[in-house]
Symmetry: C2
Subunit: 193 residues, 2 copies
DNA sequence: GACTTAGTTGAACGATCAATCAAGTATTGG
DNA sequence: CCAATACTTGATTGATCGTTCAACTAAGTC
């Protein structure tokens, strides 16, 4: 859908209905037959992102990988590639919308939250699959949230600076942190054994 | 200035000139006498944020603190308080603008970058002041960038979920990471001694 | 082949947007 | 005290926004 591309490129408010219609080669009446308001269109777009996380984002990023921790950083590498391919114009579409929606606007905000949750849960699964490679008492969910934090914060800064440094530095720090957690888990294992 | 408040509350595009005029009790002609375009107004707002980082943000957050690492997390606590006080409606004004500006728009983007740089440099100074409490080969600048990443990513998620969990979890992870770095520095010190 | 439903067309609507401007009032400097 | 400059007023502009609608065509049903 053209709307997905334009919302992602220009943002929700900036992407006018006229833009979308022109891009899609459609007429206003047609659009409004399916989506009574612009917000309904946004909601459909967010639903598609939600449903697309596994097939469109994770599957391609994880092709041929089995190591769960490698998978986490392969996904982050995917966002890095998006930055590279767009000369650092790329911004996570969900993150953009998250900051663009200022009114309470419950249905939209909920769907953004659901998108974040889907992403975080996928990463949490990786960290859970890592089993004893990570410390026993480490909260896998928190680490997954922190991974999304790193991605969103890194993309935001790299987009602003138009270079990859901030993203790369942030991911390198996260990578170092996870390595230290792995080392601790090894030490833990030795103690038990 | 009312414009600062409204840009921060509603975003740049959503805050109409009429809103700002009403809020400030001024007339359009007056405003346009000082700021020929809306973008010029935004630029002035960004300049004030830039100039306000030290006096308005850091000084109050760091009052009575001398420990440089404590200062870093005191600043993050400040953002947490902003989330609490606003029922998690708060978003970092600079971060919001960073994601709202989609066009190249060099003067605005540069000023956003400068704001980020000011923030990062202040934090980098803290980590540099921490001296041998952190590993010798640790890049202080990267860690400062990572701190901003954590703040922006955490605020984004907490704002979306309307609760503090994501922010708190992210900051807790960063805190844990820094603690591990401190432990390594201690080990380093022992080795040298 | 009549009847219904689904989908399309594009001109038009009112609202609102950023921006303008001619006419006015303070403020200042000589 | 006057002329010049600095600032204010608020109605107005044209563009653009999301949305509507009456007329139209295509597809499916019996």
């Amino acid at each position: 859908m053209t709307a997905m591309r334009l919302f992602s490129e220009k943002g929700y408010e900036s992407a006018s209905i006229a833009d979308i219609l022109r891009g899609a080669g459609a007429n206003s009446g047609s659009l409004y037959h399916f989506f009574p308001t612009k917000q309904d269109l946004l909601i459909e777009v967010l639903r598609r992102y939600r449903d697309g996380i596994a097939p469109m984002l994770l599957s391609p990023a994880w092709e041929g990988l089995s190591d769960p921790i490698e998978k986490v950083f392969a996904l982050l590498a995917r966002y890095r590639q998006a930055l590279v391919d767009s000369d650092c114009f790329y911004g996570c579409p969900i993150g953009n919308l998250a900051l663009e929606i200022h009114e309470p606007d419950p249905p939209v905000r909920d769907l953004i939250a659901v998108n974040f949750d889907g992403w975080v849960n996928a990463i949490e699964t990786c960290f859970t699959e890592a089993g004893t490679r990570l410390p026993r008492d480490l909260d896998r969910h928190s680490l997954a949230v922190f991974t999304l934090t790193t991605m969103e914060g890194g993309v935001m800064q790299s987009r602003t600076h138009r270079n990859l440094n901030a993203f790369d530095q942030s991911v390198a720090m996260l990578r170092d942190y996870v390595r230290r957690l792995e080392h601790e888990a090894v030490a833990e294992g030795n103690k038990v054994a």
